[in-house]
């Protein structure tokens, strides 16, 4: 009798809790959906406008769907040349960044020296500096040494600007690769370079992919650096050409601009999906964030 009462009370308690939990879940869902809508509106506009032959600045269903906007921007002048420029600039800079970061991270992760700690602290400190602030002196310096309006000069600066963070991240990934495997390779008579290429780098594959993709995403979207350092219109990357496209307000064809924006954003969105699982959680600023 008593046990049954107790069981009934427990049962009621569980149902009560269950109801409270469901209520809480519904409230959370509703609040999140409201916020999600706010975040979605500009994105929805982009998608609809790109397919709308008479797009304006408002979210609305197109009267007819058309691929005309995409067809109109898929020309050498509007899409292909700027995208190719972006690829050259950011691809080159990414390659330089990742190679330099991987090389430098190796001894920093494996060997000890008294100056290694201040070196790494300086690198970490540089990661936090607002790079925007140095753009005016960089411009002045580039004019001085005649690097202004050159692709390689711009790419090298972009590489350097991403390097502190990439180096920091790579070092953290490298620290996670156990030393035992290398020691085994050394005992077998492998040289330092061989150990790096055959043992360490393959083990770091996923880590290096993250560094590479992250660096590329950052550079692909970078506007201020090429905006300052590249002058010739034919050399401008997509980030700046999109801007000049709608910077001349007046007679903008919004549908075409939306279509080009989508084409320009697509590579980084896809790349992000590729590394999203590893970027999850507090990764976003590597070891620095974990503290």
């Amino acid at each position: 009798m008593r046990t049954r009462q107790k069981r009934a009370r427990r049962e009621r308690g569980r149902r009560e809790r269950g109801r409270r939990e469901r209520g809480r879940r519904l409230a959370a869902d509703a609040a999140l959906l409201l916020l999600a809508t706010a975040f979605a509106l500009p994105l929805v506009w982009l998608l609809l406008a790109s397919l709308d032959p008479g797009a304006d600045l408002r979210v609305r269903a197109p009267s007819t769907l058309t691929g005309e906007n995409f067809r109109a921007v898929l020309t050498d002048e509007i899409a292909f040349t700027p995208m190719l420029n972006s690829l050259l600039l950011c691809g080159g800079a990414t390659a330089v960044t990742v190679v330099c970061a991987a090389l430098a991270a190796y001894p920093l992760s494996r060997h000890r020296a008294r100056w290694a700690r201040p070196y790494l602290l300086t690198v970490l400190f540089t990661t936090c500096l607002p790079i925007t602030a140095v753009m005016v002196p960089v411009y002045a310096l580039f004019v001085r040494v005649e690097l202004i309006d050159t692709r390689y000069g711009t790419a090298l600066f972009m590489a350097a600007s991403q390097l502190p963070f990439a180096l920091w991240l790579t070092k953290n990934f490298m620290d996670a690769v156990p030393l035992v495997l290398e020691e085994a390779a050394w005992t077998d008579g492998a040289s330092g370079a061989r150990t790096l290429t055959r043992v360490v780098l393959p083990l770091m594959g996923p880590g290096l992919t993250v560094v590479t993709v992250y660096t590329f995403i950052q550079l692909w979207g970078n506007f201020f650096v090429p905006f300052m350092l590249i002058l010739t219109p034919e050399r401008l990357p997509a980030s700046v050409s999109v801007y000049t496209f709608f910077g001349n307000y007046g007679s903008v064809v919004y549908g075409q601009l939306a279509a080009f924006s989508i084409l320009y954003s697509l590579p980084v969105l896809l790349l992000y999906v590729l590394i999203a699982r590893r970027l999850g959680g507090g990764f976003a600023l590597g070891g620095a964030v974990k503290g």
Partner: protein, 287 residues
Amino acid sequence: MSATGGRWRWAPIAPATVLMLLFLGGPIGYCVWIAFTDTQLTGAAGADFVGFENFRRAFADDAFRNAVWLTLVFTVVSAVLGQNTLGLLLAGLMRGASRPVRSVTGSLVIAAWVLPEIVAAFLLYAFFRREGTLNALLEWLGLPAQNWLFTLPILAVSLANVWRGTAFSMLIYSAALAEIPRDVVEAAEVDGARGARRLWYVTLPMIRRSIGTNLMLNTLSTLSVFGLIWAMTRGGPGSRSQTLPVYMYDQALVKSLIGYGTAVALLLLVVGALFSVVYLRLMRVEL
């Protein structure tokens, strides 16, 4: 311990070090130098050392003070209040939400973050324009519409920065909240701490390091926002959304006052450096 030859084992750090010294150290050093000269865009050769003249001029200049004020407003509204609070709210709500809602919201917020800066600027320019979506929404709700980019430009660009930058805070706080042990939460519930009380006395103290990190990084990244503002308003109308980076660009490149513009850049760098030092201290980085 190493099989590689003695001093050569440090050789691999040379390329990275040279690159950073040339392209980051160089400009920063150059920045410190020309901030004290009267360098102009055309006559770089004939620059004279003018001491603190550029700084004196900056602090006496209304436009500069306006830019400092707007930078402060922009940073507090978009980074401290906007991204930080909204990120925590999103992360908190997501813990109690159902799976599909959680993943849809997460994807949308992150998409806004991954999108290139200039595309984000274009989208929000469209959103805030007189004939844009926000006004359409307000009219539908029976509220008065207005030209946001004209009447409240600094608010519009701040909200744009919230839209764009909240994902970072959301990710940090999601990770931090996931690390709070379940029994602590349960113990607090048993003691009768619910809702706001639990948030204030249990959750926030437990994630205070993440809050510090997040505030610092949000502030630093917001301090250097240029493209978003430039593309949405060009600092205007007038100078009503002209934050320090935009002011710096305007003085140095539009008005050709490189020396003066660089002095502003140096001030921005110093503020950033101070924040960075506090941040590194806060993290008590261990190497």
